[in-house]
Assembly symmetry: D2
């Protein structure tokens, strides 16, 4: 997990800038003989794709993915399958209006990575953020759609649970609702409210933050590599690496600071299938860095984008005080499109740990204990 490569055994190496010819990634370590088509990947990319409602940036990008290597037509079945060698996924950039950025070419946007990239590398790719652009997250979604197929029985779903100060009502949670509104919001009532709320934000040229929750079901117990490769540590890094994310929590997260030991304990009972079951899930499916078999629950906070119409004080590349206004096409709430990205990162972490667990311990887990 370093630089532009994510993961250890299931890993992908990402490239590309907002206004270059293409973005993409090389997925390495994927098991062989897994059916995989560009169409399957496209389904997930389409969820992240900009320009689908008035609540996301109006940049028009088809985000059409091509598989340039690592697949082969299986003769027996006629299906296209992975070969175990690197899978190259490429997305060409289409709508690159570099002119949008000429006015702010030499200015740093407060709260944006342009400044730190320039301090570090001495390069200021003002065109849409260059490598720091949210455009890079498309390749995470592409890689994540491969990862989903690596862990048998895995389901990873995400939802927006807070926009600005407004949280969803969990008693109204409906996963089907998530696909019916432009916010990936599981609460139909709150989704309705968000339309008006975000219209207000958008029209004022402002932006707002959000909180996203990702739930992974079907995660086998035993995944995780203590003590510095804990499953939750890797999830935290994965989610925090997404643009604009400022906080990550697992299970009860920060609320667990307020709990007593009695309230926090997820009690256990033997279930009907001869396996232990938990009576609650404060832990969010992870104990000691290892999955329990319960759903894994992670949340992350997304700050508001720095691209706003209100002038902000800043400096330019030449050391002068100045002001900046960002007039490009931007998302009033970048948290919305972070939903499929968060899902993808969780899927990648789980695929990686699934392979690591299989390496060290072999297929399956050790339970039932008495039979060892």
């Amino acid at each position: 997990m370093s630089f532009n490569t994510f993961g250890r055994l299931f890993r992908f190496t990402s490239f590309g800038e907002s206004h270059g010819a293409a973005i993409g990634c090389v997925v390495d370590g994927c098991p062989p003989r897994i059916p995989l088509t560009a169409e399957e990947i496209q389904v997930h990319l389409d969820k992240r794709r900009p320009g689908q409602s008035r609540f996301t940036t109006q940049r028009q990008e088809p985000d059409a993915v091509k598989i340039l290597s690592g697949v082969f037509a299986d003769e027996a079945t006629g299906r296209q399958v992975t070969t175990g060698t690197p899978i190259m996924l490429m997305i060409e950039n289409i709508d690159q209006r570099s002119k949008d950025y000429s006015a702010i070419k030499d200015k740093y946007r407060p709260g944006h990575a342009g400044y730190t990239y320039d301090v570090k590398y001495g390069i200021h790719d003002y065109r849409g953020g260059g490598r720091a652009s949210a455009r890079e997250t498309a390749v995470r979604v592409a890689a994540g759609s491969v990862a989903r197929k690596v862990v048998p029985g895995l389901t990873v779903r995400g939802a927006l649970v807070q926009m600005g100060p407004h949280q969803v009502d969990r008693s109204r949670w409906d996963w089907n609702e998530v696909e019916r509104n432009p916010f990936f919001c599981p609460d139909p009532v709150q989704a309705k409210f968000f339309e008006d709320y975000l219209d207000g934000v958008r029209k004022s040229g402002s932006s707002i933050g959000a909180v996203i929750e990702v739930v992974a079901e079907g995660v086998p117990p035993g995944l995780g590599a203590p003590v510095y490769g804990k499953l939750d540590a890797d999830l935290a890094a994965a989610l925090m690496s997404i643009n604009a994310v400022k906080g990550v929590e697992i299970g009860d997260g920060f609320a667990s600071a307020e709990l007593s030991g009695e309230d926090n304990a997820d009690e256990m009972r033997m279930g009907n299938e001869g396996k232990p079951v938990f009576l609650s899930n404060h832990a969010g499916g992870i104990l000691g860095g290892i999955s329990t078999g319960q759903p894994i629950v992670a949340r992350f906070a997304v700050k508001p984008t720095s691209s706003i119409l209100t002038p902000r004080k800043t400096v330019d590349r030449y050391g002068n005080d100045t002001e900046i206004v960002t007039k490009g096409r931007h998302d009033p709430c970048v948290g919305i499109r972070a939903v499929p990205i968060g899902e993808a990162m969780v899927a990648c972490v789980l695929a990686d740990h699934y392979l690591m667990h299989r390496a060290q311990v072999g297929e399956g887990t050790a339970w039932p204990f008495e039979k060892r």
Copy 2:
């Protein structure tokens, strides 16, 4: 960053169980010719050491560290310095009362890693948690005390900012106060309150969670390796890998979800030293995964320990329903001792990124830009 090795270039590999002969770590990649003595490391270990007040476990461990390799007496100065080769730090276990655990030998403690270790590895080291014990965190503190010396001018300090639902009052923040009370609390009024509060928790055989804040000052701008080795992503993994941590945030963290783009922007002005200065620090010192030069601010939530006197429902290793009570010597609030651990992990991440930055870009940063 994987399994029992933390870090990439500045890294340490940890070993040892709660009730084995010793715990320790091998620090690798440390630059040569840095003065280093066991006494310096001991200072930090003593802060984490148990049994120093009635608010932490009464296990008596001197936690005396020995340096078994990687240092050499510099002839010119007579000082002991690092050699650039592996620094082995060892702490022998002294107070291992295994009998304390015999009553719960075959039972899983709800909320504890014993269950998941058994599911994963088929091994149940019931004696104090084995490898999953908080005892392992001593080696993090030892490694962190080496890391602090790698980054010139670096200061890393931590404080407990919340216990249960009770937060400190930031207007009373006093770093000197942190060393005057047994809670590492920066607010003298709240520290007084915590004495009574935690006594109540302790006497009832319960436990409580906490939130810790770590602030790193003197961090050079430019540290961080986008996009999957971002400084904040690594901090998130480092802090989440600490036992019992369930949430991590940088700067405004989850509160930034409620902010507008205007409020979240850290505006800039040219400072008197010819460098840009920021007018606020919502970002917590990191933009786009790269340090800005402002103080880095991270917080993490620690859940209450699962070792409590109130009986909880659970199962045993043989698939029977049962109840469990934990009578060993435990911390009513494990968050207290997490303060020096959090500091250590932050120091290790910064040392690692300091070396990575020097590798790619060389000494220093690129500013002032016009002079390049």
Copy 3:
């Protein structure tokens, strides 16, 4: 250094098959602000390119490289420079005559990776070897041409020093001659002989092995990361990873087994520039895994290609005994085109270690000692 990623800090991730749409790599960790154009890379690719003489395969591939990311036009100078972010290098495949392989579709070629890929992955990409094709080595040359620019003052040159049983006469060694004959042979007399010799091999439909020597000059002393990341260990892995390589040696190599301690010692004297000089170079520029500052000398043995016209006994994918003849377009001596590949791998290892050394020790080395 694992799977399809080579290197630690300066590293590249390779993708693509012989008969897919494209091959390429993502170079990550490259320092910023290094001038880089596709033309510079093309110079090296053209040396490896097939079809340039009757002594290499007649497959016609322009091997035209494109830089898809990681460079930016420096405004001050107008030059294209690296940005410090991933450099994507892509080479499209043009001449893919898949029909050539239909006759051997289900048969394993003795001495070829087709069998082991099928055993491992259950996939048999019969079209020119798929991922195991020597075509993959083009991306190594591309990555190596970036690596050459990372280490200031570095020169890496290679030569063919043996074909079949015929060695060059080192007394006639002339680096300029290497570019004058189609064998990269530094001995003009032997080069003349190789023309007739290899014509004989070629016309008989056979193939022959070779030995390549690579010499790196301008390598700073101090590069290397003992004890498992030794410079020579990394060179050995790098060269052994090239297709068809079966042996690697540094300095005197296997001949040093026959030497006495007296003969093997590279004696030292203080040189005119106030630095130690060596009176010989049996060590090949490396002691204890660390560069001495002398030229680094590595050699590797390349086996003959398995693509020959003489029938060989083999089995097919369905478990039947059979015979195979390979009629495609192949190299009678694959060792020839291994020269630029070996150079590239040596350059990549040196760039990686240059960055690793800078990370741990900072710029430069510690000599002169008295001034420390």
Copy 4:
């Protein structure tokens, strides 16, 4: 594979200097529930241990290994087994006669790593080579003895096949003979000759090189991670990382440069067990970086030690020309003790690849193909 950590999934991190308190390593990633005792490890260490005949250094080191973590008494069987957590192996240094080195304290030994360590780190640990000492190789043997238990059915054996210019006669090869003479020589006639030969070298205060061959049997087909983590590339790095090694070859190695494609091809036929068998093993058990299932054959060349009685020209730390004679207790042929070290490194590479293969492809291989 970097710095002082070897391996990816099965890996060990080594520490310690020749004249420090102890040497040792932390073995990480080992599968759980493998029976392991210190006695088993000691068997292999005793083979490498100095002072066992007049042909190795007279330093008296019991090399007694202790397991400080990572094992647990399995209750069901009463056996000590691995837990899946880090296994700490420690060997205390006993016989540290630092005075032996005082005469050469400030001088560099030609052909020894003392110079390059000083250039790199600015530290000159003159006492027996410090970290660069062959003493470090004891921990490789210890780690290797754990690795041997990871791959079911694996046997790794080594032999000295050449001393100085004198090779063994392979027609007399007898593995049992290897344990009967102090040279690990498989040829009883040549072993007899080596006694006189090496006595002559020893008495003259000189030293001599050697070639070692390691053969691994029972290696499952399919191990290896192309294209940069090839099994042979990793073996090359592993063997080249051993002190004093200057060359590595697989199968026919450098001799394959002289072969034609016809002679080099290992032809195949269906065997009686319904699996393909090879009619020869020029490849040394590896094709395309992946194991074929045949025995893996690797050889490496060991240079003569630089510790000799004949004066050699050198410089001192202060930049003066001088001469050096090494009077300590040294091995006339360090290649002898390299035999168990080579075995250990091969075992570690195979254990690592066994786990990596299991991660990506699962248990077993894909053959027979028709049944997939």
